[in-house]
Structures are given as structure tokens and as C-alpha cells.
Symmetry: C2
Subunit: 405 residues, 2 copies
């Protein structure tokens, strides 16, 4: 018995039958003697549909007004789940973002949660209500409706769980936990019973679609016990733990890959102080995120410089760099959007050497050419040709002993 | 130049093209130097669609949660119109009911406006914004979202106009004003340039579908200058005026009819004190509205009693009265839902006699049998057979000199 926050994603509330199933699961948790707060996403597809509707009015919808529009998606599911629970004779009450006092900054469309008041939630819990909160939304200090960006309902859930000091925050989704690799690519992938927040952060930022990046940051900062579970079965799921708690850890916990990046190379750049600022200034001004950067020194005071950008910004970045190349006197600019980034992740790497060497030799054995390399304390990423991405995942999964018996 | 409140109904915002047309009309009003506040309904059909969705979850959705759901309809159109105006470079800002401080009682689904704060609207107008308010919705003292009942956006508009002391409140709809009769029934019907609030109240309560009843009450009480106009053309429309202002008035301003009632008769009721309470008590307890009541005295201390109820409550009322008849010893109970109520309405009646006589003789000439009669100070209604309703309207239209030359 305790206070449990349960978050259900868009596929879990995609239609009336699924909402009914969510209601049953929530009711079971309540019947077991728990206080329950439910956070909901919009029905799968609804947010995209609303964006499509806005785009019928204008190609560049005002961001404040777009948030007012998008907030209706979660408002709908919160009302539907509450009335379903009521019809089952459970005392349920829906709250919208502003009613749940989810206070954000005013970055419409991608707002950050500043504070969760939760006073109203606590009052309702004291009166033994099941509280159903519309996820993804909040309001700024002026009372404008804001939304938290794609996947933001995860962050709503973890932030509300933190404010309530909940005993656990369960993220129900259409997968039954975090796997050592994407099971669609690697049939030997195993579900992890635990994963550290740091590893999850790396996975989320590398394109594993399970948890919203900011929700993991929130869990890490506020020590919220988060569980990722399937809403379609009763499996245990994966527990997100803070690094300190884990005792025995494998060196590598998981392999991820991403096909969302493209690579740009400037050839024979004069090797002078300040040249990097000239190259990355225009990219930064255009709000394009640069991920990996590699610089190779050549003879004769020249270097080659390669970096990656999100694939959907590739053409824009390439055009910007062609101008830059002329200004700084680089010989050539070229790029490639047929790449993929494959990463091995594990907090165990901190205390183990030889991980990189094992990764490179495993890839080499399968004739997978490494185009770029970057590392963090708990991650090694290699850019490879896109067609070899899935093969690379499987090879590394075996090489690091992750295959299921 | 002045402060103008413009309300657009569901057919006026039924799709992106129509919302664009609304934006153009609002922009013209703003360009002419006016302060503009816009009140919107949901897209035509959306409210019914949401009710249908709720009914997929439960046959009797919780009223609080249904209001949370229904409020998304007007939230959607308010956001879409605001982003459209913004894309046309007009400074627009949407406000939901609670943001516009539309304070209501807590009668979910049929809430009454208690007060409109309008502070936020005034601030936005001072900064020269076009303010777009989601109609039909408000919030109660506890911050719950409420809705005002079908047609409630009219009331939102008039109440906000009253709070702002607006110079006029224009109700844009799919007809171009108030007619002397339904033009679909009587092709000689004329548009009225003016109508008194009292007449409009009678018409609204008798089923003329132009204005929400409460909005007319609000206009009458707060002296709001209301205009009913078409959103599809530039016609002048009909002005709603307070009775005192009119000088020369025709005796009869309009003819209405309604097919939404049914009649129930209790035959040979013992004529004793307290008997009426026994007859109408159960009907009242079941929240069924009784409209006309007629009692005919018979010989021998017995009376026949006939009354009308809404057609959709007919069967329920009939069942209740069958029980009552047994208890009080009435001889028989029977009913008829093939009736229609035809009414002549006009403030001029107050100072003219002979209106009833002229009505009865006109109907008699066409062999239209009068089943029941009821009157108010400015209205005479006759119940006739349903198949003769349209004929009765045309006959009366001619008899009272309303036919267009």
C-alpha cells in the first residue's frame, strides 16, 4: 500500500475498449489499498491530427494557440477515463494541467516544468479520490496553457510523482520494459529488470523510444522510483534506479541505434584559432543541434572536420556550410545522410577498460566500417553505414554477452 | 467605432474555410477601428460527436467529466481562429472560459452564469488585441469546468458583452435574422428589422431556434444591444430591443410553431382540494416540465384535466399518470403526441383587444380544430393536430397582415 502514480501512453488509451482496460487496471491498484494518481496521454494519433488541423489554417501556427489546441487531446482522455471509473462506482476526478498546478516556463510547444503545486491533488487524495491528470500540459506564470513537447506526459508523471513523494511512478506503454536492444532488430534481446537513470538517459537521447528524456532527468534529480511496464500484460517491467543503488552491473547494459542523423565534412580547413566558431556559429544560430564532431589533422596546417546533425536539418546545415567554406577557404564540403549511429551503453564501463577495443574488433570481424567514433563515460558510439546498422546491433549484442540463453 | 462582441455559431465555424471567413469578418470589424471580442461555438456536430464518444464509455456519463470533455469543442475553435488571425498579422489571443473569468454555478451541463470577471479581456483589449473567447463554458467557484447547456455560447456572448458594457453584441448564425414565421413553412415570411426582447423570449421558449433563451433574458436584464445576423452575407439582420424603446408596433410580430409537445388527459377526476398536487407532484419529481394545463368542469363534482409535456418525456409522464389515476380514482388516462402548438406573438397585444377572436376565426375558416388554448400577455397559443401545423402558420400569417408584399 502506498501512493502510486500510473502513466498511460497514447496506445494504451487509443480507443474506448483500451480506456476501459486502463480503468480496470487503475481500479485494481486502488482496490489493493493504494492512493492512485493517473496521468494520461492523448489517444494515439490525436496530437498529430490536431497539428494537421492547425496546418490547414496556417503553415506556421502561433505556438501559444497551438498549445491551446493540443491540450484538448489529453483533456479528452482524462475526462473519458474519469467518467469510466465513475460509472464503475470509483470516486474519480479529472484535473487539467493548470488545475493540477503544473507550472512551466513559457516556451510554448516545449515548455519545461518549473514546479508542481499538487495541493489540489493532495486534497482529492485525502478524500480518497482517484485523481486523473491530463498529461503533456501545464500553465505558465501568466496562466497561459503550455505543452511539454512530444513524450511530455512521461515528464508530467515523474514530476507529479516527485511533488507527491510517490512510492512509485509506473510508466505504462506498449512495450513491457527496457530491452538490451530493440527486439525487432535483435531477437536475442532480453528485458532488463533494472536500468540506471544514467543509462536510460543515454538510451533516451540516442533514440530509444521508451521514455521522454526530461522525465529521466527528473527521476534522477528527484529520486523518483520509476517503473516501465506494458499496459497490455501483467509483466513486471523494468525499474529505473539511481546509479548508487546498483551493486553488480554488467559492463554493457544495452545496444541502441539511431538512423536520425546525417554527416557533414569540411575538407582542408585552414587550421587557425577561431575557425571552429566560424564553422559552428551559423549552425547554432539556425538552432540546429550538432552531435558528434571529429577533427583530423592533415599536413600543412590544414584539417578535415566532420560533424553530425539531425537528418531533417541536413540540407539546411549543408547549405549553411557551403557559405562558410567559401568564407574560410575550405577546399570542399560534402555530406552523407545514409548513416546510422550504433552505441553500447553501460555504467559498468566506468570501471572497466577494453570496452572500446572489444566493440571495434567485433565490428571489424563482420567487415562493418566505422566512420566516426564518440564516447561518454558510459557510452561508446560508432557511426556506420546505414545498411549495416541492424547487423551491427546484433554483432555487438553477442560480443558483449547480452544474448538470451 | 466602439467595442463590439461578435458570436459565431457552429455552422459558421464548421470547417477551416468557414473559420477563415470568420477571421476575415472579424479583421474587417477590427480594421474599422473597433475593439473586438469574439465568442465561438464548437464546429457543427462536434458537441454531438463528443457526447457520442462519452456514451461509448458509459450510458450515464458523470456530468462534471462530460463538461470537461465537451469544453474541448470550443477550445479547439478558439485556438484555430486565433492562430488564423495571427497568421494574417492581427494580434489575437484565445481565452478559455475560466481564463475569461466566466463564473457559473455548479450545475454541470446546464450551468448558469453568475458573474463575468472580464479583467483579463479588458487588459488584452487595452493592448489592442482581438480577444477570442471559447463560448459555452465557464468555471464554478471551486475551479471546475462547467458548460452552459445547448446554445450556451449565445449566453456567453451576451453576458460578456454586458460585463464589458459593449456597444453591441452581434450573434452570427446561419439565418439572416428573425422572421415573422419560419421561411421554410411560410414563403411570405419577412425578416424583422427589430424585435423586442419580450417577443424574442416567447419565440425562443416556443422553439424558434435562433437565440438561446437565457441569452435573451440576459440581454433584457442588462440592456445589451443584440443583433442577430447571418455569417454568410452582409445583411443587416434583426435588432433585439427593450420594449420601452419601440414606438409603433404591429399587434402581432410573428407566428411560431412547435412539434415538441405531447398532450395527456385525465378523465373524470374527482374535483377535490389538493388533487392538482397529486397529479403534478410525480411529474415534477421526475423533472418533467409541464407547459399548458386546462381543466374543464363536468357535472357531478368531476373534472377533465389536460396538460402538455415535452414529447421526449411523453411515455414516462403517461406511465406516471396511470399510477396517479388509480390512486385518485380518475376514470381514464389517455394522451396524444400527434399535436403541434401554433402561437401568435406581439407586444402590441397588450394594448389591442380582439387578437384571440381573430386567431380563432382564421383557424376555423380553414377547418383547423383547436384542441387547447393558452395565453400570456403578449402571446396566444393553440394546440392543433400536427398535420395542420404548417397550414395554421400560413393562415395566421395572412390573417395578421404579415405577408410580404
Amino acid at each position: 500500500m502506498g501512493l502510486i502514480v500510473q502513466k498511460f501512453g497514447g496506445t494504451s488509451v487509443a480507443n474506448p475498449d483500451r480506456i476501459r482496460n486502463v480503468a480496470k487496471r487503475v481500479a485494481r491498484t486502488y482496490d489493493a489499498g493504494n492512493d492512485v494518481v493517473v496521468i494520461l496521454s492523448a489517444m494515439a494519433g490525436v496530437t498529430d491530427g490536431l497539428i494537421h488541423l492547425a496546418n490547414k489554417m496556417t503553415e506556421t501556427p502561433d505556438r501559444r494557440e497551438l498549445d491551446v489546441l493540443l491540450a484538448t487531446g489529453e483533456q479528452t482522455t482524462a475526462a473519458l477515463l474519469s467518467m469510466t471509473l465513475k460509472s464503475m462506482n470509483y470516486p474519480a476526478r479529472s484535473l487539467l494541467g493548470f488545475q493540477a498546478e503544473v507550472k512551466t516556463d513559457c516556451a510554448f510547444g516545449n515548455a519545461r516544468i518549473v514546479e508542481v503545486g499538487a495541493g489540489q491533488i493532495k486534497n482529492l487524495l485525502t478524500d480518497h479520490n482517484i485523481v486523473v491528470v491530463a498529461g503533456f500540459q501545464g500553465c505558465d506564470t501568466e496562466g497561459n496553457i503550455t505543452t511539454l513537447g512530444r513524450g511530455g506526459s512521461d515528464t508530467s508523471a515523474v514530476a507529479i510523482a516527485a511533488a507527491l513523494k510517490a512510492d512509485k511512478c509506473e510508466i505504462f506503454t506498449d512495450v513491457d520494459g527496457i530491452y538490451t536492444a530493440d527486439p525487432n532488430v535483435c531477437n536475442k534481446a532480453k528485458k532488463l529488470s533494472k536500468i540506471s537513470c544514467e543509462e536510460m538517459l543515454e538510451m533516451a537521447s540516442l533514440g530509444a523510444k521508451v521514455l521522454h528524456l526530461r522525465s529521466v532527468e527528473f527521476a534522477l534529480k528527484h529520486h523518483v522510483p520509476v517503473y516501465v511496464r506494458s499496459s497490455f500484460n501483467e509483466e513486471e517491467g523494468t525499474m529505473l534506479i539511481n546509479g548508487e543503488q546498483d551493486m553488480e552491473r554488467p559492463v554493457v547494459s544495452g545496444i541502441t541505434y539511431s538512423k536520425n542523423e546525417a554527416r557533414i565534412t569540411l575538407k582542408k580547413v585552414p587550421d587557425q584559432p577561431g575557425i571552429a566558431a566560424k564553422i559552428f556559429g551559423p549552425i547554432s544560430d539556425a538552432n540546429i543541434n550538432v552531435d558528434m564532431i571529429i577533427q583530423n589533422t592533415r599536413a600543412g596546417g590544414q584539417t578535415d572536420l566532420t560533424f553530425t546533425v539531425p537528418k531533417n536539418e541536413y540540407q539546411k546545415a549543408l547549405d549553411l556550410e557551403r557559405e562558410v567554406a567559401q568564407q574560410i577557404g575550405a577546399e570542399d564540403v560534402f555530406g552523407d545522410d545514409n548513416i546510422a549511429k550504433v552505441s553500447v551503453i553501460g555504467v559498468g564501463m566506468k570501471s572497466h577498460s577494453g570496452v572500446a577495443a572489444r566493440m571495434f574488433s567485433a565490428l571489424a570481424k563482420e567487415n562493418i566500417n566505422i566512420i566516426m567514433i564518440s564516447t561518454s563515460e558510459i557510452r561508446i558510439s560508432c557511426v556506420v553505414e546505414q545498411r549495416q546498422a541492424e547487423l551491427a546491433v546484433r554483432v555487438l549484442h553477442t560480443a558483449f554477452g547480452l544474448d538470451r540463453e
